[in-house]
């Protein structure tokens, strides 16, 4: 579906800052999140988790737990099916371990009891006999051929023989003669980088309420980024049919990719099936950090050659990502994204996924891209420093633009990188003076943006209002944006439209809320659904007027005759047509189903000033500006909110957030006290500059905006800190002990 003629369109609703439909519920405490509902007779579920990084389960004795008064069901891995599909099988054994536990926090057994405290007592009565196995949590250590094998036989055919069993995937991208390119360079820098795993850090722990009968009919209420995904996963690992399982997504208290999988829902369903009662499960923060998705940890080598005037001649990257204890595809996105911002004659990126005794990686906002781009942008910055070149000029000189053959294969269409860089260069931030111990850094960022399977129904109500039914949980204000696009297309006020999120029984399949796809893909489907409804309304008007339906047009929310030959009928508004729909053919609705493509990639540039304390290694963020091509910004407040929120998550990643494992392979900081996400007092204002380069793949020019802003902060801050500290930092987070050590030698 192509971009409408932008020159002719003046938006009336899109681009304004309307109030959100879920606002009052969320400021008054009424909004119902995952943990906020109850069911009559419900039980409380709780999970027993492995204290070991790697162990064989010799036996599990649940008899004492089952005997405890108030305990109504106990389940172990044996209560879940292991589907043939490897992806579903991994989910099953991650929800409840089978013969081995793969990481500290891996679920082993679960109980359902009449109270939380009985459930807590009961899991302590479960006796698990473990045979402790050697473990490995570091990505480089796990790649060594003699490393303990987390799982065996999981390598794809593209992995060369003789490597560690933990290596599951190899991928490679690029074009051109890299060696010849390096030969043309005046300066080559090659550096190795490491980044720690970080967690999405949503404030709402996973929670669900599940019921499943012996007849295979069930319901799940849960906080998720995709109710259809929950249905598919649960149906597969419980051996039930999707049609019999209704999944309702609650309000979601943050996800950032972290709620794109299932951890507790299948367990709660298994407990419900066994006990015959509804089962509520709510994760603790400790469980969230130990057992749900952190992102990848990474080890990376980047080599870039540059001429004295700043032209990149060749670039090579080798990326080693650990996606935890399972095979994982995030490496592919990281390898593809690494050099996306550049127009390169010769580039090569090789990626490896490596299993470690860590939780299963779950996507975190632009999965794979922040780390690889951090490494690339650090080397580019160092080259600029070494050659005495302006880092923005060098990026402009080498920037990808329309027609560039990207480092991962496709040729770019309309993209906004150059405009974004120029906006950064023109901004007063770029030339503001710096004081002692201060440094300025910048970085480009990139994200692909997804489209995907999407299904929308749009109903014209008899009072002239509009209901939109869509199937993607609203994670950042999408109900408002979708209503805005429906209102825009139909020509009715925003207030006349209400968008609701369907449960799995109320609408066809939708991909999860991921890849910054919802405003783009659901918006696109909503506009098409509105157009279908408009076509029907024009037919109804034609019928009433007794003219040919081709002789009716839709203008400003009303059917009008198309020119003098169609007669002189006064316009019929949407409300007027709706009011008589029963006499003209029945209810009016539009719907649209699509596997949307044309999402349109997104680029951003972040500019940051930092000050380092040479005596303590502390870093202060002094000033921060985000520049991003958002395509058409449907609701500018929410676009800014995504840019600010992503930037601050990246600041946390750069400075303080990390998964810290002890020698024993156990996670040492499974709480918000020591898993340190940024607090309000850590931060300055986050200034935003939205650029609107229309995406040709969407009728209004919309692009996804949510993920790109987490990509640049890592390198922008590292570059600023490196310049302020006078020492090149190559490891994240740049925690004060690490920075002080680098500065003092």
């Amino acid at each position: 579906m192509a971009l409408d003629d932008q020159a002719k369109r003046t938006f009336k609703v899109v681009g304004t800052r309307v109030g959100r439909p879920d606002g009052i519920d969320k400021v008054t405490g009424k909004a119902a999140y995952g943990a906020d509902i109850t069911a009559p007779g419900m039980l409380h579920g709780r999970i027993l988790r492995s204290p070991h990084a790697h162990a064989r389960i010799k036996s599990i004795d649940v008899s004492e737990a089952a005997k405890l008064a108030g305990v109504k069901a106990v389940v172990t891995g044996a209560d879940l099916a292991i589907p043939d599909d490897e992806g579903f099988a991994d989910i099953a054994i991650n929800c409840l371990a089978r013969d081995k536990v793969f990481y500290d926090g891996h679920a082993v057994a679960a109980v359902a009891a009449t109270s939380k405290s009985i459930a807590k007592q009961a899991i302590r009565l479960i006796k698990v006999d473990y045979e402790i196995l050697p473990h490995v949590t570091d990505v480089d250590a796990a790649m060594k051929p003699d490393a303990p094998a987390v799982q065996e036989g999981r390598a794809l055919e593209n992995v060369p023989a003789g490597m560690s069993q933990n290596v599951t995937t190899r991928c490679a991208f690029g074009h051109g003669d890299v060696d010849a390119g390096f030969a043309k360079a005046d300066k080559i820098i090659e550096r190795s980088f490491k980044t720690a795993a970080t967690h999405q850090g949503y404030i709402e722990p996973q929670a669900c309420l599940a019921t499943l009968g012996s007849d295979g009919r069930g319901e799940v209420w849960c906080c998720t980024q995709g109710q259809y995904m929950v249905r598919a996963n649960c149906a597969a690992v419980l051996g039930i049919e999707e049609s019999q399982l209704r999944v309702i997504s609650s309000e979601i208290g943050g996800g950032f990719g972290g709620k794109t999988s299932t951890f507790i829902e299948p367990v709660a369903l298994a407990l419900s099936r066994k006990s015959g009662k509804p089962v509520k499960m709510v994760m603790t923060r400790d469980e969230v950090l130990r057992a749900t998705g952190p992102t990848i940890s990474a080890s990376m080598d980047i080599k870039i050659g540059m001429t004295n005037d700043g032209r990149i001649t060749a670039a090579r990257g080798e990326l080693r990502y650990s996606g935890g204890a399972y095979p994982n595809e995030t490496i592919e996105m990281g390898a593809q994204a690494a050099f996306a911002a550049y127009d390169l004659e010769a580039v090569e990126t090789v990626g490896w996924n490596v299993m470690t005794n860590r939780p299963k990686e779950i996507p975190y906002r632009a999965p794979g891209a922040p780390t690889s781009i951090y490494a690339v942008e650090s080397v580019v910055d160092e080259l600029c420093q070494e050659l005495g070149l302006d880092p923005l000029d060098v990026r402009l000189l080498n920037a990808a633009r329309k027609g560039t053959l990207s480092a991962y294969g496709p040729t770019f269409n309309e993209i906004g990188l150059v405009a974004t860089l120029e906006a950064a260069k023109a901004h007063p931030h770029y030339t503001a003076p710096l004081g002692p111990n201060q440094g300025r850094g910048l970085s480009c960022g990139f994200w692909f943006n997804f489209g995907g399977n999407t299904c929308v129904s749009l109903n014209i109500n008899d009072d002239g209002t509009v209901g939109v039914v869509e199937g993607n949980p609203d994670i950042g204000g999408s109900r408002a944006s979708i209503s805005m696009m429906a209102a825009e297309e139909l020509g009715v006020p925003y207030e006349k439209v209400r968008t609701v999120i369907a449960d799995t029984s109320a609408l066809g399949f939708n991909d999860i809320t991921d890849g910054s796809r919802v405003t783009f893909a659901v918006g696109l489907a909503t506009i098409e659904a509105a157009r279908a409804a408009i076509r029907e309304m024009c037919r109804r008007a034609a019928k009433i007027w007794g003219i040919d339906e081709d002789a009716v047009l839709w203008e400003d929310g009303a059917a009008v005759p198309a020119g003098p030959n169609a007669g002189t009928h006064p316009p019929m508004t949407l409300a007027e047509i709706a009011a008589v729909a029963g006499n003209t053919g029945g209810p009016i609705a539009g719907h649209h189903e699509v596997n949307a493509d044309g999402a349109g990639v997104s680029f951003g540039v972040h500019l940051v000033d930092t000050e380092v304390d040479p005596e303590t290694g502390a870093t202060k963020i002094l000033r921060y500006t985000v520049f991003q091509d958002a395509g058409k910004a449907v609701h500018p407040d929410y676009v800014e909110g995504q840019m600010q929120g992503g930037a601050v998550q990246g600041i946390g990643w750069a400075l303080n957030e990390e998964y810290i494992y002890g020698e024993d392979g156990r996670l040492q900081n499974a709480g918000f006290l020591d898993y340190r996400i940024p607090v309000a007092s850590d931060l300055p204002e986050i200034e935003t500059v939205i650029l609107e380069i229309p995406n040709p793949g969407h009728p209004y020019g919309v692009r996804g905006v949510g993920e790109t802003p987490i990509v640049p902060p890592l390198a922008a801050i590292s570059n600023a800190v490196s310049r302020a500290a006078g020492v090149r930092m190559c490891e994240l987070p740049m925690s004060p002990p690490r920075l002080l050590k680098a500065m003092t030698g």
Binding site: R17, G19, R20, D22, G23, I24, K26, V27, T28, G29, K30, A31, A32, Y33, A35, D36, K116, S117, Q200, G201, Y202, I203, E204, P205, E251, I252, G253, G254, G255, F256, V282, T284, R285, I475, G476, G477, D637, Y638, E640, G641, Q644, G645, G646, A647, V648, Q649, G671, F672, L673, I677, P678, V679, A680, S681, L683, E685, I686
Partner: protein, 158 residues
Amino acid sequence: MKMIPVETTINGDQTEFLCNADESLLDVLRDRLGLTGAKEGCGTGDCGACSVMLNGRVVCSCLVLGVETQGAEVETIEGMADGETLHPLQRVFIEEAALQCGICTPGILIAAKSLLAKNPDPTDTEVRYWLAGNLCRCTGYDKIIKAVQKAAAEMRAA
């Protein structure tokens, strides 16, 4: 375990409940009284999502025992609006898009209200430090700080 009867005042209403000795005020509010506006983000006082007012001071309800509220005055997010009239902070949070997912919002509103009661004209830095115990992962705090300041200005002018 013997349950303990407690009489307290919640949002101005006399309230009686039974709870176990080791039950937190947060669990009492959510599980026994159906007041689910206070959220559990951590249970250890590190996130502020469960913030409520206890005898005029903002506290983490996860770090208060239910039994401690005997004779106390508790205010929760459910008591912040006056019927259909939102508190200025609540209204401005919607107007300024100071929330995304909204899970931290009740706690932040309670904490912000307590700040403005004590200091009606805070600096941005004072707002940021006062709210440092209220984690928000969506917004980067920028629009939250601006909304608090806008509401504060309105409240001063009123």
